[in-house]
């Protein structure tokens, strides 16, 4: 297979005018004009040039995909072909793809829609490490819509055991409206045994939803093969644009809509379909699938190199989540640094041109302990003293080296700043 990495543009390529100037600058002197080393691909990743080109060309076209005339039908065709392309990759039928504005909306539609559709059943089972788009939905249904919420515990690596799920379900299986377990965790990279978990749900006729936002593009995500009822996919995590995603929803499931309106997406999700974004989404999905195995291998190697470097430079750093292997996302490394605050580390790395995250992008800004780490049994100081490094299709060994070059000094300083 050709080396397709060269096709992708880096966030700041080596021939950018500022590139060499940056390298010569003292680490402290920096204007806020963009990053040199991007290690936050789990937050978002550069758009694939092919997806961008497709999107730009479609943006120049006019037509509402719901219109009956030829301009509308042209746009509609773009949407339907994209739907087929995405369905094919994810083991779904075209009618099982519901386009949304992204992962959060798809999660909301799955959780709220499926709960509301199940009139008599009240219980929702979800893990304690779900993304906030699932967590907060479930909590809200518990607080305001009479749901009986049960948070499924995970072990110290973040894994949910099928036996734990089974025991929870079998307490009152006739009352469970929905189970939601994310395929791969966005913070610590834990990959759940989704097919085993989905099997427990299907044995009891309970809908099983999985937020596959982080898994798509790195792992073989497949609706039919997994046995799940519903999967959430987000375009911008796999090289497509921000603002579009999909809920893959097995036939026969009729969620109550979150968005009512013109009746698009078989009355499940109203709103004018964004043909340009959907086309770019399909292009990204296909390329990601084509390249997935190679990408996973390449990025795992880089990630393992990163883990080795971190451990060499900061011997007491703690890797959170499973050791590299089948239960860890290929591109994810997550560490706790004793004696440090995550946001001090982040700021110090940021000043040295390195972008990473203290947790998920959504909760960044104010120091909160990671609910994922707390659920895995970490104490509060470990849950606030962590960094997530995530690699993507543009990541290079130089990125790992750049991190390794400054991390020791950064951790030193952060330790001096201590904990407040």
């Amino acid at each position: 297979m050709a080396n397709l990495e060269s096709v992708s543009d880096r966030p700041m390529s080596a021939d950018h005018p500022e590139h060499s100037a940056r390298l010569e600058q003292a680490p402290q002197a920096r204007r806020d004009s963009g990053s040199h080393v991007y290690l936050d691909h789990a937050a978002t990743t550069p758009m694939l040039p092919e997806a961008l080109a497709a999107m730009v060309s479609e943006l120049a076209q006019t037509g509402n995909p719901s219109s009956l005339h030829n301009a509308g039908r042209r746009a509609r065709r773009v949407v339907e072909e994209s739907r087929e392309r995405i369905a094919r990759v994810y083991g779904a039928r075209p009618s099982e793809v519901v386009f949304t504005s992204g992962g959060t909306e798809a999660d909301n539609l799955a959780i709220k829609g499926l709960y509301w559709a199940r009139q008599s059943r009240r219980a929702i089972l979800a893990t304690s490490i779900e993304h906030h788009a699932v967590l907060d939905c479930v909590s809200w249904l518990g607080d305001h819509q009479g749901a009986l919420v049960q948070w499924l515990p995970v072990d110290s690596a973040g894994l949910l055991s099928p036996e734990v799920l089974r025991a929870a379900v079998e307490r009152d299986p006739g009352n469970v409206a929905l189970i939601s377990v994310m395929w791969a965790n966005n913070e610590v990279g834990t990959v759940q045994p989704i097919d085993q978990l989905a099997k427990v749900a299907s044995e009891h006729g309970i809908p099983f939803h999985s937020d596959a936002v982080q898994a798509a593009g790195q792992l073989p995500v497949d609706l039919a093969a997994s046995g799940a009822t519903a999967l959430t996919i987000s375009a911008h995590k796999i090289g497509g644009p921000v603002g579009v995603g999909a809920l893959l929803l097995a036939r026969g499931e009729d969620p109550v809509p979150v968005l009512h309106g013109g009746g698009q997406e078989r009355d499940v999700r109203s709103g004018t379909l964004d043909a340009a974004s959907i086309l770019a989404f399909a292009v990204a999905v296909e390329l990601a699938a084509e390249r997935r195995a190679e990408h996973a291998k390449r990025v795992s190697r880089l990630r393992d190199s990163l883990i080795d470097r971190v451990r060499a430079v900061v011997p007491d750093a703690i890797l959170n989540g499973p050791e590299p292997g089948e239960y860890r996302l290929p591109g994810n490394a997550h560490f706790s640094f004793p004696g440090c605050e995550g946001d001090a580390l982040l700021m110090l790395l940021d000043a040295r041109g390195i972008c990473c995250s203290t947790g998920s992008a959504c909760t960044a800004g104010i120091a909160q302990p990671s609910h994922v780490l707390l659920a895995m049994g970490a104490d509060r100081s470990r849950a606030t003293g962590s960094l997530r490094f995530s690699l993507g299709h543009t990541s290079r060994q130089e990125d790992v080296d750049a991190l390794g070059a400054v991390l020791g000094e950064v951790v030193e300083r952060a330790r001096r700043a201590g904990r407040s």
Binding site: A344, I366, A417
Partner: protein, 365 residues
């Protein structure tokens, strides 16, 4: 960067002066409201956004530092505790002393920064002999904030920057507009930043509960009752709720608040006259500690009048003898000593002497 015009222009000036600047918004409220309603309150989410946008325009990195818990303990709880003791605190003093130039400064220095720069209206001038920075009033005397900064010690001043001290407020706003900062027209925040609705009494009532007690006259006779002594400030005339005027027909003022019994003492204006003040925890930045008496001009509340006085250190306490009496001197406020525009030092007022013949001392509890 609070989201206000002063800190935005201060940051811009620091950049223009060639410093490497990072903008930090302090999240100080445990429950920040989303929107800024007019001039009251501070550090809402909208303020954070305004600060972020200012940092964008200026071209500097921007972060939010969450110091809500420290602020609650060091500033808000202290504010409440002071009122419970019958004192009248100025929380801006504690915030500068404990948060802005302590918690924030310590963290900044540990992370490799050299100084904390704020939009306070004040100046730093280099001491002729020592070369150490000294604090001085801003050129805009109406906006001057040297009073609330006088609580800072030498080490803290050595790591502070106040770029706005040589400008008036109007000049600062004009500069903000010139620089394309949207906050140029944002109203200044008044009153206490953590009491957004301006109802200090209500806030204290919710924290301390209603604590009714007697209102007594200057001779100790009970003449009324109140719902909570913490609603009163020494020197206050309005809101006493007494109904009947004093026998001599003159207005009555709060002379003293005794928190344990909840007794509020009122009396005529002359009873407020204070000649002698004792202040504790003195800080000296503009002169050597005055074991021998010095002449200075003293300011006893934010934006208050100044009084010529003789001052000296008595052990660990600062003694201030005013040449002519001051009124409305409240325990808990700062006594700041000036020589012209220059801050010499300050202390927290702990006692004031009532110039009655019996020489009785109304001391802090």
């Amino acid at each position: 960067m609070s989201g206000g015009v002063d800190s935005a222009v201060a940051a811009a000036r620091a950049v223009a002066a060639g410093h490497e600047v990072t903008g930090v918004h302090l999240a100080l409220s445990m429950n920040p409201s989303s929107y800024r309603s007019g001039a009251r309150g501070c550090c809402t989410l909208e303020d954070a956004r305004d600060a972020r946008r200012a940092a964008d325009v200026i071209g500097i990195p921007f972060y939010v530092w969450d110091l809500a818990q420290r602020f609650a303990a060091d500033v808000v709880d202290d504010f409440v505790a002071e009122y419970a003791r019958g004192n009248t605190p100025n929380p801006c003093l504690r915030c500068n002393e404990k948060i802005k130039f302590a918690a924030v400064l310590d963290r900044a220095v540990a992370l490799g920064f050299d100084a904390v720069c704020t939009g306070h209206h004040a100046r730093l001038v280099t001491g002729a002999a020592s070369g150490a920075p000294r604090l001085a009033r801003s050129v805009d005397l109406a906006k001057d904030q040297s009073y609330v900064l006088a609580v800072l010690n030498r080490a803290q001043l050595g790591r502070a920057m106040f770029p706005l001290g040589d400008s008036t407020k109007e000049q600062v706003r004009a500069e903000a507009a010139e620089r394309g900062l949207a906050v140029a027209d944002k109203p200044d925040s008044h009153d206490i930043c953590f009491i957004a609705d301006g109802d200090t009494r209500g806030f204290l009532r919710s924290r301390l509960g209603a604590a009714p007690g007697p209102i007594v006259d200057h001779d100790g006779r009970q003449i009324g009752r109140h719902e909570g002594s913490f609603g009163f400030t020494v020197g206050q005339r309005r809101g006493l709720g007494l109904g009947r005027p004093a026998p001599d027909g003159k207005p009555r003022y709060v002379i003293d608040i005794e928190p344990v019994s909840g007794t509020v003492r009122v009396g005529p204006a002359q009873a407020l006259d204070t000649h002698d003040i004792t202040a504790v925890r003195p800080v000296w930045t503009g002169c050597d500690p005055p074991y021998d008496p010095i002449e200075a001009v003293v300011q006893l509340r934010a934006h208050g009048e100044t009084y010529p006085a003789t001052c000296w250190l008595d052990g660990d306490s600062l003694r201030v003898r005013l040449h002519s009496p001051a009124r409305g001197v409240a325990r808990g406020q700062a006594a700041v000593l000036y020589a012209g525009e220059l801050v010499l030092g300050s202390g927290t007022i702990s006692e004031r002497l009532d110039p009655k013949d019996d020489g009785s001392t109304l001391s802090s509890h």
